[in-house]
């Protein structure tokens, strides 16, 4: 063994000396260059390895869509809303005669909220079930994993609600129908500064959630830029139920509002405990708040707080009201933003299927990219050149059992 | 019986195992008080006493399972207070257990090989960091040899097998070579324990009730065997035993414990007639009913 070591070192040294920058394959598209580097090359970057998209779907008279989202685990509630929204949209599309005479079906797989499961589910959807398109997931980590696989296989993917900018940066087959974290953080910073005239705001973030950390980063930066002051940044972990320690620490700094960019499952309880500790300032949050459960969990404590969202179910627009009542009829509850976005994502997918000449990946990709002013329930969807939806955000004020529209912030 | 008591090998040389005023306490209980012992090569000593007298505790202190509260244990001239059992074992002290503690799921041969191997493994002397690191390095290199099946390693393994087989043969267990230890009959399990202890190439062997559960015939065989072991392996042997006949029959010197205290020490005849011993052993009534030494 001993005499191997110097040899090994020498070899390593030679390797290091011989290292060089990887020569870029003959393409400017950095996303596909990686595949070429993987040795799966031979295919031109513009047409990713034609794994399956051109092969016919399982049955000739149906079009199969893949859905991968968290149905169990800590993110299950979001995943289930997403599933419901997609289901509803597909049902409506089928009732309206399907696409080009074909019925749409979905195949839904559970990602358990874990990236490796998400990647596995997507790989299965693409290669075994031969879906033409993929919808999902909520958590950005999972969507990132899925995006990588979908991009490599050349199957278009639409994420309804992953707001991390990195997701669509994975490649030109990845789209989203929601705005991104930086925008949402900006919305709340602007609202706090201009509408609430707050100078001092504390932040309570969910350290387990990339979404929450992302919003915190943007919010603190923007809010400080606008002349405000962040008095404290405290953290909790998804699944916690006792936030008194953090809130007590925040209370000391006497903020005028607390930014809590987490999920409703925790925010409701946070609000109650804040009031219990004598913190009466409003809480501010993001779309993670949006759920009927928020009012139940937060009770009267959450009333008077504000959050940014994709849509307001109170919007009198008949399209939105129809969606809300249909959803209620099917699943017994007011649809949250995740359901609305999933509904929109599925609708965009259906629209693309209608417009595309065939169901091959590139054709669908091109069709999705054309989406402009698509009338979704969560705002009109226009996809920009980075495949992100550009749309306004609404700020809602939490009331008794529902949230009231306050203002719209446009990008 | 008298011829049996004549040691064929005269105890010689410096003491291999010494206990010097060893005491141990558990909570408030004094399990062993001021225990003295000295075993040289060729010795065959006995340790007796009623149940709960502290015999096994004495074994445990000597072999490093318990750390003495006071006093000193020396093995091969080295003070071993606070050493770990395996370190003490490497100095040449091996034992068997009262309640048989074989590696039950291992074959008879493997049981012995474990002991042989442990003894063969290189021991880096010293306690300073450098020695420890060197020891660790050596150990990992040893594992590499196992992974790579180097010729040297294979030869070593073969050597171990032969060695273990020899020991099994000595103990009359060779026909049980590939039997799992738990499947052996009781008497053979006892003998396998001795074979295993011998695998560590001890200088001193401590036997904890080797005859427990054996019939008369087996006991007689065992007596012969123990003496043979002492001579063939030039050991010093210390036996804990309940069977007076056996102890009296083979031991040249006997230490008697009661309630952790040494109440007598000497040649079998001497101990046999010791009043305190009889009292402790058989209760006060015994003397009255039997009228004197048995």
């Amino acid at each position: 063994m001993r005499r191997f070591v110097p040899m090994l070192l020498a070899t390593l040294a030679m390797m290091v000396a011989g290292c060089e920058k990887k020569t870029q394959p003959a393409s400017t598209d950095t996303d596909t260059s990686k595949q070429a580097a993987q040795g799966q090359g031979g295919t031109a970057p513009a047409t990713p390895p034609a794994a399956t998209p051109t092969s016919p779907p399982a049955a000739a008279d149906t079009i199969l869509l893949g859905v991968a989202t968290a149905l169990t685990g800590g993110q299950a509630t979001f995943g289930i809303s997403t599933r419901n929204g997609i289901e509803l949209a597909i049902k409506e599309a089928n009732e309206a005669g399907g696409v080009k005479g074909k019925k749409l079906t979905t195949r839904v797989y559970d990602t358990q909220g874990k990236p490796e499961e998400a990647a596995q589910a997507v790989t299965r959807l693409i290669n075994q079930d031969k879906v033409v398109m993929i919808l999902g997931d909520v958590a950005s980590s999972n969507s990132l994993a899925m995006a990588e696989k979908a991009q490599a296989a050349g199957v278009p993917m639409i994420t309804p609600s992953s707001t991390n900018p990195a997701v669509t940066e994975k490649g030109d087959f990845i789209f989203r129908v929601c705005f991104i974290d930086p925008f949402q953080g900006f919305v709340m910073a602007k609202f706090a500064r201009e509408n609430l005239k707050a100078n001092n705001v504390a932040v309570l973030q969910d350290n387990k959630s990339a979404y929450s950390i992302g919003l915190t980063d943007v919010f603190t930066r923007k809010f400080t830029e606008m002349g405000g002051k962040i008095t404290a940044v405290e953290s909790y972990s998804q699944g916690d139920t006792d936030y008194r320690a953090q809130l007590t620490a925040i209370k000391k700094t006497q903020p005028e509002a607390i930014y809590v960019p987490g999920y409703y499952s925790e925010v409701g309880v946070i609000a109650r405990q804040a009031r219990e500790l004598g913190l009466k300032v409003p809480l501010l949050g993001g779309d993670g708040w949006d759920s009927e459960k928020l009012y139940e969990l937060g009770g009267s404590a959450i009333q008077g707080s504000y959050f940014s969202n994709h849509y307001s179910p109170d919007n009198p627009d008949p399209r939105i009201q129809k969606f809300v009542s249909d959803y209620k009829a099917a699943y017994g509850g007011v649809p949250d933003a995740l359901a609305a976005l999933a509904y929109d994502a599925a609708k965009v997918a259906v629209e693309a299927l209608k417009n595309a000449p065939d169901t091959s990946g590139p054709a669908l990709k091109a069709a999705i990219a054309q989406t402009k002013n698509f009338p979704g329930v969560a705002g009109a969807v226009t996809l920009d050149d980075k495949r992100n939806a550009v749309k306004p955000a609404v700020v809602l004020k939490v009331g008794d059992g529902k949230s009231d529209y306050v203002t719209t912030v446009t990008p | 019986m008298s011829s049996v008591n004549q040691p064929r090998t005269e105890p010689t040389g410096t003491p291999l195992l010494e206990a010097d005023g060893v005491s141990i306490q558990f909570g408030g209980l004094r399990a062993l008080t001021d225990f003295h012992l000295s075993i040289r090569k060729g010795d065959l000593q006995g340790l007796i006493g009623p149940n709960g007298a502290g015999k096994t505790t004495a074994f445990n202190v000597l072999t490093g399972v318990y750390k003495p509260s006071s006093g000193e244990v020396r093995v091969a001239g080295k003070r071993v207070n606070g050493w770990l059992p395996h370190q003490i074992n490497r100095l040449g002290l091996a034992r068997t257990f009262q309640n048989i503690r074989l590696f039950r799921a291992l074959t008879a041969l493997d049981n012995v090989k474990v002991a042989c191997r442990a003894q063969a493994a290189l021991q880096v002397e010293g306690v300073h960091l450098g020695a420890k690191v060197r020891g660790a390095m050596h150990n990992y290199r040893d594992w590499w040899r196992a992974f790579l099946l180097t010729p040297g390693f294979m030869a070593e393994e073969r050597e171990l097998t032969q060695q273990a087989e020899r020991l099994l043969e000595v103990m009359g267990l060779l026909h049980r070579r590939d039997e799992e230890a738990r499947n052996l009959p009781y008497g053979e399990q006892r003998r396998l324990e001795i074979a295993r202890a011998l695998g560590t190439r001890p200088k001193v062997l401590l036997l904890d009730e080797p005859a427990a559960g054996m019939n008369t015939r087996e006991k007689a065989d065992l007596m012969v065997l123990i003496r043979k072991l002492r001579d063939d392996f030039s050991l010093g042997i210390l036996v804990i035993e309940h069977d007076m006949k056996l102890v009296m029959g083979i031991c040249e010197q006997i230490t008697v414990l009661d309630h952790g205290e040494t109440i007598a020490r000497g040649a079998p005849e001497q101990v046999r007639s010791d009043r305190k011993v009889i009292e402790a052993y058989l209760g006060d009534n015994y003397l009255e009913t039997h009228g004197g030494a048995a």
């Binding site: 350290n207 499952s265 500790l277 | -």
Partner: protein
């Protein structure tokens, strides 16, 4: 100063809950030497039972004193039954098998309960957390300054209940016939059986008491943090378990002390250091305690008989 006091109160309040859950771990470990990983999930089931009962009682009745008693009784009885069933059908057949198998079984039950309750099929509640009804109307028990420090009635109640239960358990274990049987079983259940102690019954009853305790603890926890979710058992269970080990698992007052200590340490780490490191500190303490005192603060590692 006020802040310090408030932290102290918060820490005690969460420590109290840990203590109640930890008592269950400790009892079961005491008699069976089994880390009952499903304990936290039994607690979760108990909370859902209480939740369902509260709903059945309706808004008015659930707030009455009798209503609260009924909620607690139903949940505790239901959990005792659940505990009995788990012990009877999952643990008892494995008692003579290596302890590892029982541990795996416990983990299996934990998975089945915590994931099963996430389903939205039939009576199962689904994954979303729910607000636990305010069965005990929160009242300020003590207010210092301009609400600088607030102590609530339920915080005091929890503490009293926890201390009461601890004293009761201690009495049960050391002063009653049953307790003597428990200790005998704990020492060696085979020998205990030979001595005519009905070990099966003792173990079953211990399990039922432990599970009922878990339900009570869970309800107090749900009242304190106003929500119930299928995963709550996992989080609280793990922490309570850590607390039990810090105190010396199998040791009743040790579990309480360990739990209060853990509650306070977590509170102060969050309050004065970095909140993100709370869990790391909790486990760090655990490891340090075990390294310094391998049996926990109060426990003793039984010297192995050689």
């Amino acid at each position: 100063m006020a802040q310090l006091l408030q932290h102290l109160i918060n820490g005690l309040a969460s420590g109290t809950i840990y203590a109640l859950v930890a008592l269950g771990y400790t009892m079961v470990y005491g008699v069976l030497k089994l880390i009952n990983f499903a304990h936290g999930d039994v607690m979760m089931v108990g909370v859902y039972m209480g939740y369902a009962t509260a709903f059945a009682l309706g808004r008015q009745a659930q707030k009455s004193f009798l209503g609260v008693v009924v909620i607690f009784l139903v949940a505790m009885a239901g959990c005792a039954l659940l505990g009995f069933l788990i012990e009877r059908f999952a643990y008892r057949p494995l008692r003579e098998k290596p302890r590892l198998t029982a541990l795996i079984t416990a983990i299996g039950i934990s998975f089945a309960l915590s994931y099963g309750f996430q389903l939205d099929i039939g009576f199962l509640p689904g994954a979303a957390p729910r607000a636990f009804p305010e069965v005990i109307t929160p009242r300020e028990w003590l207010v210092i300054g301009d609400r600088d420090v607030v102590v609530w009635n339920w915080q005091v109640m929890s503490l009293l209940i926890a201390v009461g239960l601890m004293v009761g358990l201690q009495w049960l274990v050391f002063k009653t016939r049953f307790g003597r049987a428990m200790r005998a079983v704990s020492y060696d259940h085979r020998v205990a059986a030979l001595m005519g102690i009905p070990t099966d019954r003792v173990i079953a009853v211990t399990f039922m008491i432990g599970s009922a305790l878990a339900a009570g603890a869970g309800l107090l926890y749900a009242i304190k943090d106003t929500s119930v979710s299928p995963l709550m058992g996992l989080y609280v269970g793990l922490k309570a378990f850590v607390a039990a080990v810090i105190g010396g698992i199998g040791h009743v007052p040790g579990a309480v002390v360990g739990a209060l200590l853990l509650g306070l340490v977590e509170e102060f780490v969050v309050g004065y250091a970095a909140s993100t490191w709370r869990d790391a500190v909790a486990f760090g303490i655990l490891i340090v305690v075990l390294l310094v005192k391998p049996g926990g603060l109060f426990g003793r590692v039984a010297a192995e008989k050689v």
